[in-house]
Each structure stands twice: as C-alpha cells, then as structure tokens.
C-alpha cells in the first residue's frame, strides 16, 4: 500500500497561487508586497515592512509563510516569506525597475508587484535600454534599425529581408543586414559564395566583449549576391551570426553560443552591470561602426531575427529597433503566439504606447489568389489582437480598424504559386524577375516610407 503524494501545483498554477497569496498579504499587513520567481520558477513573498518592522516569528508571518508554502509547493522559494526590514539591500527588490505591477495600493492595502529572475533578466517586458531623446546618437542608431521578426519560421522572412536590402540600396541607401538567427546560422542569400563570410560574427563579439576583448574583430562583409543597380551609390553589407575562420583556425560555434545568453556583472567593479540586451546592442553597434569605417554610416540596419519567443527576439523588438516588422500568416497558432507576446508586453504599461507605434504587421507569403477578402480577414484578426492587448481605448488606431497605416494593418507580400521552386541562391538575377519585383513591391515601398531619411552626404 502506497501513500498518495501530497497535492502539488504545476508551474502555472503555483504562480497563480503565489500572486493570490501576495494579494492577501498586502491586505493583512497593509504593506507593499513583491513576489519574486527564481530561475527554477520558485516563488517567494517579500513584504516591505521597513516602515514598521514585523517580528520574524510573529504568528501572522508564520501562518502566511506556511500557507504560501502549501499553496505553491513544489515551486516554493527557499524562504517562502521574506521581510524587507531584514534584507541586506531591499531596494534591489522594492525599487527595481524590472518589477511588474499586479495591483496598486489602495486604502490600507499595500501594492503587489512581480519580479522575475530568469537567466537574462526580463527583456520581454523591461524598459528600453536607451532613454528617448531625439538627436541623441543612441536614439538615432535605434531609429535606423528594423527588426524582421516572425513568430513562426518558414514564412519567407530572410528572403524578404534580402529583397528589402536590395531595394533600399537601389534607392541609394547604405544597408547593413545583421543575422541574429544565432541558433541556426546559415549562408546568407546576400552572399554569392560562403567564402565571402567574414572571419567573425555576432557570437564572437558577444564572447570576446564579455572579457573586454571585442576590438579588432572582422564582423562585416559586402553583400555580393545582389548587385545594386544603376548610379544610386547604394550599398549592402552583411554581418553573420558566426564567422568563417581562416584555413587552419579553429572555431567552436557551439561552445561560444552556450556562453552568450547571460547578464554579466560589471567588468570593472563600480561600472554598471551588463545585461544581455546591452551586450547585444554593443555587438550590433560594433558591426555598424565597422561598416562606417570601411565605407560610410549605414542608413538602415535590418536585424534578421530568430522566430519564436526567444531572448534575442525579445531584446531586438523591445530594445534595439526603431521599427519591428512582425511577419504573420493567417493561422491560429500565429495569432496565439503573438497574443502571448503582446500580453507580456502589456504588463509593462508605461512602455506599451511607445512600443506599439514601432510595430507593423506584415502579411507574409500571402497567397491572394483572386480574393481580396482574405487580406481583409487577416487585417481584422490583427486588429482584434491589437485592440485586445496593446491599443488604448482612445488612441487613433482603435477608431480605425481599416486604416492603412496603423500598426495592425498588414503590409502584404503577395505570394504566388509561380514563385514556388524559385531559389534565390541559384541566380543573382532572381530579384529582377518582374513577377518577383511585383510580389515585393508593396512591401518594399511601404517599409521605405517608415524609415528615417538617409544620413546627409558627408561634406
């Protein structure tokens, strides 16, 4: 005969319980409460009793602790309830800018905040790195970066990136494409042959810069597969995820990849910490600087981003880009994915209105096949999603579901069956085929209008 195991909560249920108990504690003690969750998902309650310290063995505290542990088991922190007055550095928790408000304080009831501790912090929901100050150089850099993101892979994102780069270069811009698909780096379709890949890549910068050794890497190369037309002075540059070493050199890509996703302590004591977002930003900046040094400052930087809810996508969309193109196909899993993402963002209410204006939906590989209603249906689903999650009731966007320049209104890439089987890698003339140009025309011209003006000519 076996004893049945004690009831236990799964990951999501435990978090729900933790938040509920936090609310009860905020009421019972009349103090602000922060719920933390560690790397394994284990929750603790932090009660801010600094103004009126509670005895650690007070019956109220003990019973709250026991109830919390029972409700959240096995996702219970090592100390279920922690009193702020006993903490070494309470402001790390009670004043952290990474907190997400669950409920505000009202009357004698304290506020409740959640504070996530994951490997790379909370980049999906945290505040943008650089403050918004037009004319500021950091701001200008961000403004020129375009994130190309698809929740689902295989929607033609990389091809669209190449077509966009080519188009913008034809129109005279200096374009840099950065491959942020670090988990599955490949030969870019911007290069005619793999031998054109530079010696180092983004991953190299991340590991080298971590130990203060980022200078002198060879990060970028000219795109060769898409010759720029005419007299436009446009250029295409490419920065790979990982470089190709010289003959005889070793390069252990996996070993580097395993070491990049972390927030690092300051290199020199007293400096500010280096979260992953900042490190990735520095890697991209290094690529931009290199293009500027070899030729001129890039006017546009396309960040070809990994699919899914991945840390790199999180950082790129929320922190590093001035425009984020969200590739969608009209199927339930895509919408469900974006809904999950947007609901995360919504938790950071103070930054949502800034973020939402930087988003644009792209109807990827859209097979219109004679029915305009299919695009309208996609637009409507996108509208419903934005209206449910990111739009505010009184914003302009909410009053115009059919507007053509709202974040939700899809920019179509009209995919036709005649494109199936065409391989952009086989022929550099591919983008010049009339039907291929027609497919991307709305996409390229619309995105161009969303970009800042090129840098002025150097005098």
């Amino acid at each position: 005969m076996t004893t049945p195991p004690p009831p236990s909560a799964r990951f999501d249920a435990a978090w729900k319980q933790a938040l509920a108990h936090a609310g009860q504690a905020a009421q019972r003690f009349g103090m602000d409460v922060v719920v933390t969750r560690d790397l394994l998902g284990r929750a603790s309650l932090l009660v801010d009793d600094r103004a009126a310290p509670l005895p650690a063995d007070a019956p109220d505290v003990l019973s709250a602790s026991a109830a919390f542990a029972a409700a959240t088991h096995p996702f219970t922190g090592l100390e279920p309830v922690v009193l702020g007055s006993l903490l070494f550095a309470p402001d790390l928790f009670f004043a952290s800018s990474d907190r997400t408000e669950i409920s505000a304080s009202h009357g004698s009831v304290g506020s409740v905040h959640a504070l996530e501790r994951t490997v790379i912090g909370t980049d999906w929901t945290s505040a943008p790195v650089s403050a918004q100050a037009p004319n500021d150089e950091d701001w200008d850099r961000r403004d020129r970066r375009v994130a190309m993101y698809g929740f689902k892979g295989g929607v033609g994102r990389s091809t669209a990136t190449a077509m966009l780069a080519r188009y913008l270069a034809d129109r005279g811009r200096c374009v840099l494409v950065v491959d942020l698909d670090l988990e599955s780096p490949g030969v870019s379709n911007l290069l005619e042959s793999p031998s054109g890949i530079p010696r180092h890549g983004i991953v190299d910068h991340l590991v080298e810069a971590a130990v203060g050794h980022g200078d002198g890497l060879e990060l970028v190369a000219r795109g060769t597969a898409l010759p720029v037309r005419g007299e436009s002075n446009g250029e295409v540059w490419f920065a790979p995820a990982g470089g190709t070493p010289r003959a005889g050199e070793r390069s252990d890509y996996l070993a580097k990849l395993n070491r990049i996703y972390s927030d690092l302590a300051p290199l020199t004591p007293g400096d500010s910490p280096r979260p992953f977002a900042t490190r990735l930003e520095q890697a991209i900046s290094a690529c931009e600087n290199q293009v500027a040094e070899l030729s001129r400052r890039p006017d546009v930087v396309l960040l070809d981003c990994r699919a899914g809810m991945h840390d790199i996508a999180a950082v790129t969309l929320t922190h590093l880009s001035g425009l984020a193109l969200l590739f969608t196909v009209d199927n339930p899993s895509t919408w469900e994915g974006y809904r999950m993402l947007f609901e995360q963002w919504r938790q950071r209410q103070d930054h949502v209105s800034d973020l939402v204006e930087r988003l644009r939906v792209v109807a990827a590989m859209f097979n219109s096949a004679g029915d305009i209603n299919r695009l309208l249906a996609l637009q409507e689903r996108a509208y419903n999603l934005f209206a449910d999650t990111l739009y505010e009731p009184d914003s302009t966007y909410i009053s115009a579901p059919d507007a053509e320049d709202a974040p939700h209104s899809p920019i179509p890439i009209l995919f036709g069956n005649d494109l199936i089987g065409l391989d952009p890698l086989r022929s550099s003339a591919w983008p010049e085929l009339p039907m291929v140009e027609a497919v991307y025309q709305t996409f390229t011209t619309t995105v161009e209008r969303l970009l800042p003006s090129p840098h002025p000519e150097p005098s």
Binding site: A387, E392, P393, D402, A403, E404, D405
Partner: protein, 493 residues
Amino acid sequence: MTPLTADEYRTLIDRALEGAVDANTTEPDLRRLFTPSSHRLALAPDVTVVKGARGTGKTYWAKALTDPRLREIAAASYLMPKLRRVEIATGFAADRRADAAYPTKRVIARLMRDDEFDAVDFWFTVVLMALQVPEIAAIGDWPGRMSWVRDNPEALDDALQEADSTAHNDGMTRVLLFDALDHLHKDRTQADKLVSGLLEVALELRLTTTALRAKIFIRPDMYDSAPKKFADASKLTANTAELTWLRENLYGLFFHQLGNYDGPGAAEFRAATSMTGSWRDEGEGRFIAPTDVIADQTRQEAVFVDIAGPYMGTDRRKGLTYTWVPNHLQDGNEEVSPRTWLYSLREAAVVSAERYAGHEYALHYDAIRASLHGAARIRVEELTEDIAWAVAAVEKLEGGEVPMEPSLVIAYWDQGGLSAALQDLAKDNAQDGQEDDGGSGPRKPADLFAVLEELIDIGVLTRRLTTGAIDLPDVYRLYFNIGRRGGVSRKKS
C-alpha cells in the same frame, strides 16, 4: 514670389473653402468647378444612368450641365465637344420651379395612389412636357395630360419622333436630366416603381430615337432595388457611369479651390505648385493646375506636406497626413463625400489658427483630428436630407458600443421602437409636398433585418468580415454617442 507662411495658408484655406462646404446652397461656379478625371463618363450625353452615393455630386453635375458656361468648361476639360451640341431640360430635380416640366411631390403621390396610372405613362408625360410638345402643354392638369398619353399611344410616338428629327436635323442632342429621385415618393415601394418606369422610358428613348437622351442621376442602392422587368433592361446597366472620388480626386479638388480663390494667397499657391508646369490661365479668373497636382499622388503628397506636415504627430510612426485624412472620412463603402472632405480641411485650418498658431505647418495634426467631429456632423446632415431613416436607425444605437452583434442591434431597435419611428417618418409632413423631407424610407420598414442589410448596402453600417459583428465608420460614429469596444485602459506613468 515668396512662399506662403503657415498663417497665410490658414487664411487661404479658410476663405477659399468657405463657400464650398455649403455645396447644397451654392450653385456650381465658373472658377471653382472642378472636373475630376473619374467623372468624365458621367457627363457624356449618351450615358443614361449615373450612379452616385449621397454627397458625391449628382446634383452638382445636374446643375452644372444646365448652365451653358459651365457645360463649356466641362466640354473643354474633358475633351468632349459633343457637350457643346446639347440642349438640356430637367425632368426631375429637388428645387422645382413653378414652370417645371414635372409636378410636385404631392401631385405625384396623388397620381400614383389608385394605380389608375402607370409609372411609364407618367414619365412619358414628363418627357413630352420637357420637350414642350404643344398637344400636351395645352392640357391644363396632370391627370388630363396623363390620360392623353395613356389613351393616345400613336400620337405619343409621333410627338417623340418629331422632336427627335427636329433635334437631329439641328445637329443637337436633347438631354433630359433626372435628379433627386430619393424625393419622388415617401414610400419606397412606390419610389421603386417610379424609378423602374423612368428607367424603362429612358431605355425606350435610347433605343428608338437618335437625338433624345435621358440622363438619370441616382443612388446605387435605388438603382439596384428598382425592378427592371422590361425588355433589354441589361442594356441600361451596361450604360452606367459612377461618380466616385478617388483620393487623388479629393486632393485635386482641394488644390483647385486654393488656386482659384479670388483673393490673397491664391497666386502664391499657384506659384508654389508650379514646379512641373504652370497653372493654365483659362480666363475669367479660372486656373487649371498642372496635371500632376491633380492626378499624381506622389506630387500631391509633397504639396499637402507643405500644408500639413508629413506625419499625424511628431514622427513618421504616427501615420501619414496624406492618407490619414481621407481614410478617417470614409464611409462603409470606402467613399468620402467631397463636402465632408473640404469641411474637415477648413475646420483644421481654423482650429490650427486658434490653438496652434505657432506651429510650423498650416494644419496641426491635432487640429486635423479635431476636425473629424465637425466633418461627421456635416456627413450626418447630408444623410438627413435624403436618407433620413438611416439617421433615425443609427440614433437608436446611442449609448451602445461597436462592433455589436447583429442581434443586439435588432434589440436596440426593438426597444427604441424603430419600426414606429420609420412609419412616422413616412407620414411626416407628407401632405406639404415639399422637397426638404428626408427622402423615401427603407425598402422594408417592418423587417428590421432587412433594414440592417440596407444600411450596410448604403455604407452607413459595416459588417466585420471574420466575426459578422456590426460596425460603424467613424464619420458617423463620432456624431452619435456610440463608443468603440476594445483597447486596454492603462494608467500613464
């Protein structure tokens, strides 16, 4: 010449559009008459049916065609010399003169009451009156005239043939205009019957004469709902034109008004928009803009950006002014009435001068936003004149939120007593026979689901594609107290 300052632009817009926004009380005039390319076919003498929603310019063109000078302008602008060889008579219009060729509404209602007369006979009578055929003009009253037409089919044919050959020998085409058909009859079934008769007569003229033509300006939904159970009816449908206002037409209209204003600023505006060619001086103060200013969207956007700035806010992510304004004035059929359009721009100039005088552009983006409310009022006024029942139906949704389930719409109408209200409208001042009466009612006032469909037809309501819920375009919603569902309230940090 120095470019216009923001303030000079505001003054120019305010003054130049002052008359244009009262389009219904102002006759078309020589300087301001604008000839959008998409309206060319509508004026061709041999195009019988011209479809146009409320506010697209049916009455405007009907009036312009009756004025020889304005017709000459159209003939020149549209390269349509045939317009110089037409004689125009009016077979029906809203502003009836005492000596008109058609009876008052009250007389029509009486004539149609007992099914004694047929709608086809009625319109043949009107045609003969318009052609000033002596036999019919000699008869003193309408029942007498109609009896004559009914009882003398051969004399009718003879009279038509004679008028035809006279016109033909003179090298002229006699065009009979029919406008404001919303006001034929309060009861939509009767109105449909009358329209049906008119279409049959128009086709008859087309097929049996060479120089007599009808031109019928009509709302698309009225054209669709009129029964066409006569031979060769499809020939009419093949011969229709539509009055539409594409985005470039709207901007062309706006720029034309600015360049043709009779006062300070207009010459500077013409100079400022003459990069690709000068405005052509047509004499008598009339100027025609270079083609790209009235037809090329890229060029138009550049001109508008000088006036309103490029963005609907501080940067490009807020939307582009050039597309934003027309987008937000659209009804459910994606149509913008030119009067709403000009009103909105003028209002934006006035509000900019009051609240944002120091702004670098003439139109401030927040003033443009604010102008939508006034434009919505103008649009509802337009609707009230011809399709008053639609306004009554939307009013009953007050306090609700869209998108709204169709069943909820019906429930609002049930509770609000819409059916009774529609019946009242149909009776309302039916006896005075005046034209300012709100037009005919819906096709099936007793069937609320049919009323809903009809509102979608005329673009007052829309149906969301994926959910089937009922929505209301902003150009109507902003006037009525109807909210929009959705959005996440958040506190500002």
